[in-house]
Structures are given as C-alpha cells and as structure tokens.
C-alpha cells in the first residue's frame, strides 16, 4: 500500500483523464474503425452471409475466451485450452458414435450411437475434469498456473492423440451436425450458444457474489482471504469454468466439422488469450470483463476475415494480429499507469 501522509482533498468525482478514457474504449473504437475500413475496401464484407460467417468463426474461440476471462481476472492463465478442446471433442465423438468401430463412416447411413445430450455431457464433463485437475494442482500444490497449464497443453494433446489412435472420428447424424451447421432464424446455432453463454457469464461476473470474489481474488488475494473470501475455491472454480467452455466449444466444433481429431485447436490458446487481453482484461488480474472479451474476440475475427477478403497472406495476418495484441497491452499499461497517477 502506498503511504499517504499529506491530507489530500477528497477527489471530487475523480476526473477520468482523457487518455484513460480513450484507453478504455480503444478496443471497441478500433473494432468500429476496422469494420468501416473493410466495408469501404471490400463490399462483400458487410454482406449478411459474411457477417454471420465471422460470428460463427468467432463463436468457438469466443466461448473459451469467456472462461479464460474468469481465469485471467484472477491473475491466472490457461495455456491448455486448445489441447483440452481436442480431447473433449474426441470423447464427444466417441460417445456420439457409440465406439470406434465405424469411426470413418461418413454420409448417409450413419447411425447415432448415443443421443446428443450424452455426447455433449461427456465433452463438458471431460473439460471440467481437466480444469479441476489443473485447478487442484494450482491451488493445493501451489504450482504457478503458467507451468501447470503448460504441462496440460502437452499432456492433454498427448492424451487426445493416444485416445484417437492418430486418426479422426468422423460422420455424425444430422441431429449432431445441426449444432455446428444449423440455423435458427438465419442465425447459426454456435452464434446463439455463444451469445447466451456470454450473457450468462457477464451476469455471473457482474452481479453475483462469486463474480465479486473473482475480482477481489485477482486484485488482492491476501486481502480477499483476510475477508473470508475462499480464494482457493475461487481459483479452483475458474479453471473448472474454462474447462466447461472447452467441452462446450469442442462439441460445437465437432458438429461443425462433422469430425473430431487430435490436432483440433492447435494454438487456439493464443487466439483465446489474445481476445481476452485485447478486450482490456488485465493479465495482472482484477480488471476487465466479458463485454471486453466479446469485443476482443470480434476484433480478431473481423481482422482475420477482412484480411482474407482482401487477399492478404495468412503470414501477414499473423503479424498483424501479433502487433494488435501487443498494442492492446501497451494501451492497457498506459491506462493503468494513468490510473495510479490520479
């Protein structure tokens, strides 16, 4: 705590400096500018078909980014989400098929081995279990989240490869593929799932006691503990939550691709963390939220899509997204510094 000796006048409704204000709205502003620029440069960008396409692409990594927001708000990180997604998807596919006997059977004549809820439930259960293992190691064995989930990144990928025997599991019945390819009133199902999940996640973070405890744990875990906030349980829970979203997202991805494979979600963690950070959630914990993450996910999606439409090479896309990520954190740091100077 800073030692403050001089009696300072009460900050009269602390004036928010223009710089901090600009920083707070930097991501949505940049998103708006991107949309305008792409709309001008490429008319196809604004077509409803393309916009829905962007949203559908965003929804998979966006779902996991919702969970990642909880994790990063506690000043943690989860690098294992891409690998965990692959493992969950394979388990869901296995359950969907009722085994591995006709794992490559695609097209007409494919029979469902088990009903959809069972496969979805299995994917989510595996995701939450994966999160619980990592959360347990982080909170009980006190291994830093970066290390634990770096281990998870490798271990879950290995488990997925082992489970799949190297090949994909493909071909599901239409009641499965509907979850990835279906539409309700022209809106793709994954987009609806993402929107509903985002609203629930926002409400939980902003309006519930658990959400408050997530923010408190991220800002000052020692203080939160002294005030009888069970920070260990909070930290454990956020890894289970991100695991839940990995399971849900894996199911939607499997349904969309009509296939599950062990190499699904490679480097997905980078997109997910980038979405959260670009959305203004601080890697130091305690600051940020779901609205920012949705903006961050959209920003990455729009950037990718627009650059593709403009025929920009995928190599350059990677460079651009890297620059945006670092710029976002630089702006955030600047805003944080200004806050402390207030």
């Amino acid at each position: 705590m800073s030692i403050e000796t001089g009696s300072r006048p009460t900050p009269a409704k602390a004036p928010v400096p223009a710089a901090a204000l600009a920083a707070r709205y930097a991501a949505p502003l940049f998103l708006l500018i991107l949309v305008l620029v792409f709309a001008v440069l490429e008319p196809r960008f604004l077509s409803p078909f393309n916009l829905m396409n962007v949203l559908r692409q965003v929804s998979i990594s966006g779902l996991i980014a919702l969970g990642m927001t909880f994790v990063i708000l506690t000043a943690g990180i989860d690098l294992s989400v891409g690998s965990l997604l692959a493992l969950c998807g394979l388990v869901a596919a296995y359950v969907a098929k009722g085994g591995l006997d006709d794992r490559f059977a695609v097209g007409a004549g494919v029979e469902a081995g088990n009903p959809v809820p069972l496969a979805l439930g299995a994917a989510i259960l595996v995701g939450m279990a994966g999160g619980a293992i990592q959360g347990w190691i982080i909170t009980r064995l006190r291994v830093p989240p970066f290390v634990v989930t770096l281990g998870g990144l490798t271990a879950f990928r290995g488990a997925a490869l082992l489970f799949s025997g190297g090949g994909p599991i493909s071909g599901f019945t239409p009641d499965y593929t509907w979850w990835g390819l279906g539409r309700v009133m022209d809106v793709p199902v994954p987009v609806i799932v993402f929107a509903v999940a985002a609203i629930i996640a926002h409400v939980v973070l902003r309006y519930t006691r658990f959400g408050l405890h997530v923010y408190a744990t991220g800002a000052n875990p020692a203080a939160a503990n002294l005030n009888a906030v069970n920070t260990r349980r909070v930290i454990f829970s956020v890894y289970v939550i991100v695991g839940f979203f990995c399971g849900l997202a894996s199911f939607l991805l499997m349904a969309r691709l009509n296939s599950a494979e062990a190499v699904a979600g490679l480097q997905l963690e980078l997109d997910v963390i980038a979405a959260v950070v670009i959305g203004g959630t601080s890697l130091f914990g305690g600051v940020g939220g779901i609205v920012g993450t949705v903006v961050g996910a959209l920003l990455i999606g729009v950037l990718r899509n627009g650059l593709v439409l403009l025929n920009v090479s995928s190599f350059i896309q990677q460079i651009v997204i890297g620059i945006v990520l670092v710029a976002a954190v630089a702006v955030d740091q600047y805003a944080a510094r200004r806050r402390q100077e207030v």
């Binding site: 403050e4 900050p11 006691r209 000052n220 906030v229």
Partner: protein
Amino acid sequence: MNRPAEGLPDPDGRPAAVLELRGIAKHFGAIHALAGVDLAIARGEVLGLMGDNGAGKSTLVKIIAGNFPPSAGEILLDGRPVRFHGPSDARGQGIEIVYQDLALCDNLPAALNVFLGREIVTRVGPFRFLNRAAMFDRAGQLFAELKSETRPRDLVRDMSGGQRQAVAIARTRLSDPKLVLMDEPTAAISVRQVAEVLDLIRRLKESNHAVILISHRMPDVFAVCDRVAVLRRGTKVADKPISATSPEEVTGLITGAIETA
C-alpha cells in the same frame, strides 16, 4: 500478573475477560515467535499492545484473528475455550480485525470492500445475486456514523489514506463484535486523520467493545488506552494500567533497557 478466573470478576474488581489468552506459544520450525504469552481484555477496555519489530505482535494478531492456530496455549472467549478455523470463523465468533495494510481490494468500490466476504445477497437458484443497493445504503450509513467523507461508490484506488482507513473500520461495525483488534491503524495517515481514528476507538470503548490497539506511536497509546502490554522477543514483559506507567518506561521495556515491569 493476576488473571481473572474464568467468567468471574477477579478479586480486584476487574470485569470478566471477553478474550483471554493463556500460555500462547508459536514456533515456525526452529524460530520461536511467541513463548507463553498470557493476555486478558474486558469489555469497554482499550489495551495497547506494543513491541519492537519482530517482538511477536503480528504473530499474536494472526493467532487472535484465526489466520493460524497457536503451537501451544488456550484462547478463551467469554471464558469458553475456542479454536478458530480460519479468519471467517474468528470473525463469526465476534473478533473483528483492522489489518495494518487494511486488506482492501482497490479495484472495488468502498461499499463492496466493506461487505467483502459477507455480502448481502438474494438467492436465485444456484446464484447469489449481490444486493448492491442495500450494501451501498448501509455502507453510506456507516461512513456517516464514522463522520467520514468516504462515498460508498468510490473506488478504493482513488481514495486517500484516511478514507481507506474508514472503509476498513466500517467493516468492523457490520456486526456487533466482542473485540476489535486494530493493527497499526495510525501508521500511514495524516495527523488530522489520526485524531479521527482515536475518536473512533473511544466510540468503540463507549459502546462497551473491547479494543486491542497495536501501535508504535506512544502518544496514541497514551491517549486512548486503559492498559498497555509490551512484548519483547516473543514474551510479555509488562502489562499494567496506563496510569501506572510512562512513555519513558514503556520505551525502556520495548527496547530492553528495562527488563520487566
């Protein structure tokens, strides 16, 4: 020293202790932080607890606060032996602490810091929704009682040292605690705000609360305390009424220039 019997006034008429420590010891590995400390405090009494850095004050605070159990010894609340399973347990049994670093989350508004860990909630299914309106109202009342300018909605990040202090002290008034333990409440605030905090301690005393004031500041201890206890190297070397001692004697006891008194 003489010690009141459990639950009964002791022979010289001191009221029954609300908190009593008997033979409290704590060691961390080979390091003995506390050895056989006895301490008792009654309702309406303000006890100054003094000692140099490393004398064992913080360890004693953490034992009373339930952060960790003593290695040996007994804690009695209203004459009844108790064992605290964590800070929330100690708080639930009527011990409120104002921590030296105030234990505030500076990303949260004042009111939510006051209520952190005991929020007013509305249960809907598995969710416990925060009743912000109720918490902001109650926090506003508490700040008014403390005559603080703190506003419930302001972020702690934007507050002065005195306002932060008010937030931490407002917390202790959410319940009707048996004992309020204040760890260096005047160490990091302005002179004007020190007077406010001392006033608050007097108010707690008037409302018949027991207060333990841990402080390095001799004038503060002599201004508000009824009794002073001195720790040195993990043992209690003095425990006497403030009227029977002097700042010079207490200083000597703290530094070791005077062995015991």
